[in-house]
Subunit: 213 residues, 3 copies
Amino acid sequence: VNETIVGLDADTQRTLELIGLFVFALSGALLAVRKSYDVVGMAVLAFTTACGGGIVRDVILGDTPPIAFRDLAYLLIPLAATIAVFVGHRAISTHLLGIGAVFDAAGLGLFCVTGTVKALEFGVRPAPAVTLGVITAAGGGVLRDVLAQESPAMFRADSVLFSIPAAVGAALVALAWKGDWYSGFVGGGAALGVFLLRVSAIQFDWHAPRPRP
Amino acid sequence: VNETIVGLDADTQRTLELIGLFVFALSGALLAVRKSYDVVGMAVLAFTTACGGGIVRDVILGDTPPIAFRDLAYLLIPLAATIAVFVGHRAISTHLLGIGAVFDAAGLGLFCVTGTVKALEFGVRPAPAVTLGVITAAGGGVLRDVLAQESPAMFRADSVLFSIPAAVGAALVALAWKGDWYSGFVGGGAALGVFLLRVSAIQFDWHAPRPRP
Amino acid sequence: VNETIVGLDADTQRTLELIGLFVFALSGALLAVRKSYDVVGMAVLAFTTACGGGIVRDVILGDTPPIAFRDLAYLLIPLAATIAVFVGHRAISTHLLGIGAVFDAAGLGLFCVTGTVKALEFGVRPAPAVTLGVITAAGGGVLRDVLAQESPAMFRADSVLFSIPAAVGAALVALAWKGDWYSGFVGGGAALGVFLLRVSAIQFDWHAPRPRP
């Protein structure tokens, strides 16, 4: 069988990626609702949250136009999320903390692994490839918060771990790549580890350390 | 005659573009005055508002350095706008709502058409080309607001239609391009349509829909 | 002897650049502490402040991946600054105004010259090369402030001259390059001039002009 870089068949990986994009886009559109933006603000924040991290990664790698401007799904899914939130934002807000957070964590795991591998394939060295993996997974959320005049969630001391699980998973991928023992099994394990770390962080309220005031 | 992509002769299009850049730059420099910035803040906001959208488009297309760093007019016009606002911001503020809004709408129409066509020429598919057309015309204003710590005007529910007219015009261009019936007449018509929609939106206070709270 | 573009030997220039990066990174990490961010926010702001200007320059020039993703020092130095600030931010805050401001000014001088020369070497014309030189030296600080929801320091009327000295030095470099009389002596003199202008601006409280309210 032809397995992907995270050890899944291509259709399964694609499905997971699209779900991840959709959940990221939902969080952008919901923030726009909380800020009382109109439908334009919703669509821009949905697209930025879902695709911003990958766009920054591709621009930095020089892989232009970025995948978000070549693959129509990257445009249509944020539009679908915008419509869903426009119609049913109250229902979505209520339920997002549950099932949404699970898919959000899955997206985090998947995108940090695929982003790191893409950077390594482009010849970037392991340490900056880890940075690009984290940017892929977490950059869209930072851009969303900056556009919406919010303090970036992942910087705040009261936020539960988000980018540190991604950095751990990306580091494992880079280490395996450099040591020549990377496989779909390793990639899938790294994505799964990121997912479990993130879900545990939410469950047990884990925070990144902060300096003493 | 050699007509341009919007059906004008090259000199007329160039003149309109430079006026559009100047009016965009004025809005950046005027915001800097309202924020009590110094002349550096004025110049940065003027340049960002006028050129930011096109820079983002060119970086995404991989057409580097972007046109704003090759054509001196893209640097000199924001400087001229900065000087004009520095000397006469009271007079300009008072009169901008009238004649300025007209040229601003003309810039919106022109830049969304030229941005969309450029993206299509670079092989981008119709839907993302529309996105890049809107980014060309509206992206500078978003960057201006983010740099100046303002909620982006085009996201706010109380703002009159701005990016939706641009999206409509860009979609018409992309449709014509894909259907192989694009001509200067179509491009010029799309730009004119965007202009009229925008001016009508200001006149009749049209807003984008927003979700029920 | 092989002298660099600022008339120093390669090791001396490298040392000065790394010190400049470290001091820029310190200012990012210290801002994160003032904003009560966690260690993730500190690391992101340290990296952005130190490397953001050069990343924007390289993306605009099409020199991808940017140097910050090829040279490991650009990643490790912000991490070192993050650890230093995490452990000793009180001591560093107290002493930064003195010795830190001197190295910050040295970084400003060095990076605006190297950034301008790099742009000229990539075939950019003198005026936009000056812009790119200033972006190299000052862009990281603007990105830091935008990410941290602060009004960009260099826009504010109460800030002492920062980007104007950089623009003067970059203009001298571009003039010499165009006139074919550029040498390491000129580059070093420009960097030194920027340094002295900046230090004088701090010492004598020089501000950029602002329009009458």
